[in-house]
């Protein structure tokens, strides 16, 4: 049976609505809040609420905004304190930097930061988050901007240590991060720490924990997957190690 254009259209509208729904699943709380607020407004009869109630409602909203602002400031303050403590403990200098854009290609995991050669940022410098975990390294630096390659970038690679002192090569990937070239006789267990100690840095930088390690039959090296410690769903501020 040949479908009528209107039916075809409705079918596509349905698919589009479904995909939009799938997209907005992470924001279900916000959507729920919007629906409830709209429903309340729709069913409330006009003239029912007094002027005092309206005034209180406005005051309530203003206070909520102030509380939110206070919470944000508190969080920022805690982060700054943490990073200051980190600097003092590790006796290192950090360059705080903001993320200004992402690489428009979805096949890369690179971000552009608002610090460049003018602030002493050079190619190859390591970048950490506010917890002190490694998130990537600088792959390019211009006068005012630099490009940070995240651990999940397919072109990312660096030498790392696993557990006590097994040396391997960390390789980035969009869906998983791996450690290559660790020989079968090395005793690697799930949960072992993956870390690095770059030249010129006096402390150990934690990268992740072993998620899955298995020996390949007939192969020389183990297949190792890493769970990265730095979680950055909304990457905004990062710190470059001098």
């Amino acid at each position: 049976m040949r479908l009528q254009p209107s039916r075809i259209r409705s079918k596509y509208v349905l698919v589009a609505a479904l995909s939009a729904f799938l997209l907005f699943v992470p924001f279900s709380d916000t959507i729920e809040h919007i629906i409830i607020t709209t429903a309340e407004r729709f069913f409330a009869r006009p003239g029912e609420r007094s002027a005092l109630e309206k005034h209180l409602e406005i005051e309530n909203i203003a206070l909520k905004i102030k509380i939110k602002e206070g919470e944000e400031l508190k969080k920022e303050n805690e982060k700054l304190k943490q990073i200051l403590k980190f600097q003092e403990e590790k006796k290192t200098l950090l360059i705080g930097s903001e993320v200004i854009a992402f690489d428009p290609s979805s096949w890369r995991r690179q971000v552009i930061l608002n610090r460049g050669k003018r602030y002493g940022v050079k190619k190859g410098m390591y970048v950490i988050d506010d917890q002190g975990f490694l998130i990537g390294k600088i792959s390019e630096s211009t006068q005012n901007y630099c490009k940070l390659s995240l651990l999940s970038d397919p072109d990312f690679s660096m030498p790392v240590f696993v557990g006590e002192n097994a040396l391997g090569l960390l390789e980035g990937g969009l869906d998983r991060v791996k450690v290559l070239y660790i020989e079968n006789y090395e005793n690697i267990k799930n949960g072992d720490l993956v870390w690095c100690k770059p030249l010129g840095v006096s402390f150990v930088i934690q990268i992740g924990r072993i998620k899955n390690a298995s020996a390949i039959d007939g192969g020389m090296f183990q297949q190792i997957e890493v769970k990265v410690l730095a979680q950055h769903p909304n990457l905004r501020t990062v710190y470059i190690l001098r």
Binding site: P5, I8, R9, Y12, V13, V15, A16, L18, S19, A20, L22, L23, P26, A101, F102, D103, P104, S105, S106, W107, R108, R109, Q110, I112, E140, K147, S152, P154, G173, L174, D175, R176, P233, N234, L235
Partner: protein, 169 residues
């Protein structure tokens, strides 16, 4: 020779409609480009919105002005990626030629479903093989996201470009 006011009026209308169409193309592609650049959904959405927008644009408007805007936005994307080679310009120009050829060979309406599917499949296959180095589960997630978002982008772009739904599926 004087052709009368009617001729002038229709010419002016045509110019205006062309200008409006170009403005609509620029706005739509700029929105897609901004989505790629600012990533409001973080890295949970893997799709190239600009790529989907360009494929959708070529599908509903397969003429040379679309190629021009495709190349312009490809250049912008290459510039922001700080890419050594203009991969996106080449890709968008190649897609245009391929789609134009395929649409010429298969002019029936049903072909408008499989042509973008072929184009997106080639794009995914090449990128997953040579760039992403990813697993099979990642591929499935990628195909699902690309398919759903392409349907959504195509639907919105058709609405935005004011194409009648009966003309294009």
């Amino acid at each position: 020779m004087y052709y009368g006011d009617h001729h002038l009026f229709s010419y002016a209308e045509r110019v205006f409609s062309m200008r409006e169409r170009h403005l609509r193309i620029i706005t739509a592609l700029a929105a897609c480009f901004l989505l790629d650049l600012l990533r409001p959904f973080g890295y949970s959405v893997y799709c190239d919105f600009l790529y989907l927008g360009i494929v959708s644009l070529y599908l509903i408007y397969p003429y040379f002005p679309a190629l021009f805007w495709g190349v312009v936005f490809g250049y912008l994307k290459d510039t922001c990626s700080m890419a050594q080679t203009p991969v996106n310009i080449i890709e968008f120009a190649f897609i245009f030629l391929l789609m134009r050829y395929l649409l010429g060979q298969f002019p029936e309406n049903a072909s408008r479903r499989f042509i973008p599917a072929i184009i997106i499949a080639i794009h995914l296959w090449l990128n997953v093989q040579y760039l992403a180095k990813a697993s099979i589960f990642f591929d499935i997630k990628l195909v699902m996201q690309y398919t759903l978002l392409f349907i959504l982008v195509n639907y919105l772009l058709k609405k935005w470009m004011k194409f009648r739904p009966a003309d294009y599926i």
